[in-house]
Symmetry: D2
Subunit: 296 residues, 4 copies
């Protein structure tokens, strides 16, 4: 998003906010929230709700609402939700759309996914401030800097993981990052790093998980003779490739395709599966619950 796009977006959306809720189900939750919003002059623009099991299950809600002069009302609305939230034991997130989320992208040598994110962002599809790109290769520098985005080259391998992560975390703090996207970063993060950003690190794995967890999924897909290969975007947890899945897709392959062909075809879906996962996260559509995702 160039400055003009951002200004236009902020103008259009300055009076808009999104609320994500999860709590034990009971009657009256929707009534309490929607009445609260009405009482503060807000209009619900879009909402989706889902309950795992009526009454004894878990209740999930996403609401987009608008109000004239939203900025003046932010604190009172937040306070009101806090109060209702306590009553119903809610976990909730409230995002005012004029506050752009700040995103860091971690990349490596293969820049396909990085490029896709940058272009989706440039065309206005990913509404965020891409604050910086960190890579353990110099490959993407020219591309990233052509968008006016800072590029940090931090060589990485497992022997210097600690030092590398220290530098990365420093940058995350300096730029006040909300979301980290691993765009084929190919390095494993330590539990300490992961714990700092719970449900806020999105990875792309180049297989249809849980098939081919770990290294060389295309080679193993080739060896097994599958007829479709996949890609999975998921939140990073301490268990490699075991985090909550946000999105998956597949593409058809056949006996004529060697491992290198699978890699090429795979890239076509990796980039879009990652972009969709990131987009949905930025639009506050995703709630993590028991290592799975609700995607509204």
């Amino acid at each position: 998003m160039n400055n003009q796009q951002i200004q236009q977006y902020l103008t259009t959306n300055q009076n808009r906010a999104r609320l994500l809720v999860s709590c034990p189900d009971q009657p009256g939750i929707v009534s309490a929230i929607s009445t609260l919003l009405r009482d503060h002059g807000a209009n619900i623009v879009e909402s989706s709700q889902y309950t795992t099991h009526p009454v004894e299950g878990t209740f999930f809600l996403r609401i987009v609402f608008e109000a004239n002069d939203m900025k003046a009302k932010e604190n009172e609305i937040r306070d009101a939700i806090t109060s209702v939230g306590e009553e119903f034991s809610m976990q909730w997130r409230l995002n005012f759309l004029h506050e752009l989320k700040k995103t860091a992208i971690f990349a490596s040598k293969d820049t396909t996914c990085l490029r896709e994110l940058l272009y989706e962002w440039e065309s206005g599809d990913l509404v965020t401030d891409i604050s910086l790109v960190i890579s353990n290769h110099e490959t993407g520098r020219e591309l990233v800097e052509s968008f006016g985005i800072p590029f940090y080259y931090i060589p990485a391998n497992k022997d210097i993981r600690k030092e590398v992560e220290a530098k990365q975390l420093e940058l995350m703090e300096e730029y006040d990052i909300d979301l980290i996207v691993l765009a084929r970063y190919m390095q494993i993060l330590t539990p300490k790093f992961v714990a700092t950003y719970p449900s806020s690190i999105i990875n792309i794995h180049h297989s249809f998980l849980p098939a081919f967890v770990g290294a060389s999924p295309h080679k193993r897909a080739y060896d097994r003779g599958v007829k479709l290969i996949g890609a999975t975007s998921h939140y990073v947890t301490d268990d490699l490739d075991e985090g909550p899945i946000i999105e998956q897709d597949v593409i058809r392959v056949d006996h004529r395709n060697n491992v290198s062909d699978l890699k090429k075809k795979g890239r076509l879906i990796e980039r879009s599966v990652l972009a969709r996962g990131v987009k949905w996260h930025l639009e506050d559509r995703v709630i993590v619950h028991e290592n799975k995702t609700i995607v509204f």
Copy 2:
């Protein structure tokens, strides 16, 4: 659905209802409805809302809710919604799940779609009372009667359309039909017939509309050399193949496929596109608005 399935379904869902609403948008609608439901002891199980444009647009809502002893509360809930509905100039539909919708299927010689509907119904996926099947061919009789469903053979062609429809309408009334499914019926209905069942007649057209409106779509698809063929389920209006689209899908074809191959491949998607359209209608997921559908 056999009697056992129906009993089980009714037991599970006797306290459940669905409300579909459309009205001019304004603040307070969700609050009014959800508070009303809470006040009658109802719990919202699932809800989706969409607004074409905030405030000045049109508001659409689908709510699924539960209440203990729903049957005893039906009238009071209906009255309360009537009252709120007037306040907000709503069009609304309220369905209590213990009241099964009654469906008539119109079929012809090609029984693929008819068969799919019967099997989806048998496996419990189409929750409805399939009250009768009318066909202008005897082909499907054995199949239909094996499910214990009455089969009416009414020969039809355009010269005797009036008499045919008179008989059909009589049966529709006798069986108190809510939904008519044209499962490759291949006869055009008169405006009079269509007007009797607005947004309640679902047809399957064997092309990706608006491509190949009218007769012989597979032949024309073959002549044009398309690489995908489609199917479309839509509500019937007076304009042939121009009614609101509910669902569409496509399947890949190539130069080796002749017209007969396209027909065979087409059947694979026609049956599922029709079954999905019917299923969504029966689940009260579809609202028609300005010749388009909102599918929640």
Copy 3:
């Protein structure tokens, strides 16, 4: 296929044959075969060839050819191919289309796949003689017998596997079976049984292999929170769910779908993935090579 369809098929195809070849690659193979065919007055109607690596790789070929008065030439063509086959160290299969393959279907309680096969067969899409159906449940009897196909009820469980298979093998021999289709049969076959029908037993597994090998794939897919579920048709080998994959497909699911929903959605692709696998086998499109398939 009813008798009329079979007669029509045989009339149309009585002069047609298919040849499948695999051998070490070297120059001159296509020339030798095509010249042989020309010399016997045959015309090549369709052919596909694939070589893993030029010269040192493996050569695969599928040829469909026609000749006037084919029946009179069968022996001489077979002899000629035998001779060329020896020259090039070929493995080859030659099928004259007037000789219908004989198929046995093994089924169990869930008849979705069985039904699909019967309907694809009835509509002329599966060109074979479905000689019998064996099931360890009585559920499908009425359906199967309505097509005039013998139905054998053989109760089965792992304790009596040996006796069960003895009966089954006896029937396979009695009916001179070429292909066995496990249409959700749910019983494991012994190595002895499998060895009797190499690359001639097709199974459907209700997951996207190699994900969720073994029991309860839908339950495990639900627990993992995948966004797509799959189905795989493959040849049976001694390693459970590890045989050569013929075809796979997936269908989208989301957080609202419980295990029972996954089963319902899964059936929609299982039936078509199995039907495609069987169809391709019957059309002599599949060659097994190193636990993978070439599908022409």
Copy 4:
């Protein structure tokens, strides 16, 4: 493709060629060609053949073959094919892979498709010499020149069509162009221009043809309320959007998507549908026959 990629490609493929044939069907064609190739020491690596109807139909063939020291044999092989070609009244094309096809891209303001082509080319998926890009907007200059490709800005509108095309044709000649790709060029070409490059101009249309021929397909798709939107790559003929279709694909949309959303989603498939069409053309997979394509 950078120089290193080109060198590697040429080294790997210097002994490889592709032959495309169409002619009236008759026995002996495959034998004649394959024997000819064997006699010149060539090995067939891949081949596909298709006949519209046996004997009286049209025969189509694609063969990829290799020979040691191919360059020295080019003329003799070409002569031999010419001779066989006359015997069988063939139309044929023979391409030696060391001769890279020369491609011109025509672009306009929306650079999505242009960018995709450049990246597919950079990653080695489009094997061609992209000799120049012509655009009626300056938008893509920086992007194109960053790949070291000449960029020509030629303003265009229908009033100056003649002069514009004169300049374009001059450049086509200067660069000796084999293939022209219209990457959302949005200008209509004159019959004269089209006649100069028969079956050698590929266009991307942003709809599922033949639905929404002409201008503003996304607006019209929105108005019709379709549930899928499409994209079509096709050869340009004098009839707007009526040329032979090479490839098509669709993407799902729903009631929440406005025209601008359709445009964004549409771009995701336009770029890949165009890239696949171009790739298949460059790999000599496409034969045009009676306004349709055979894609091997």
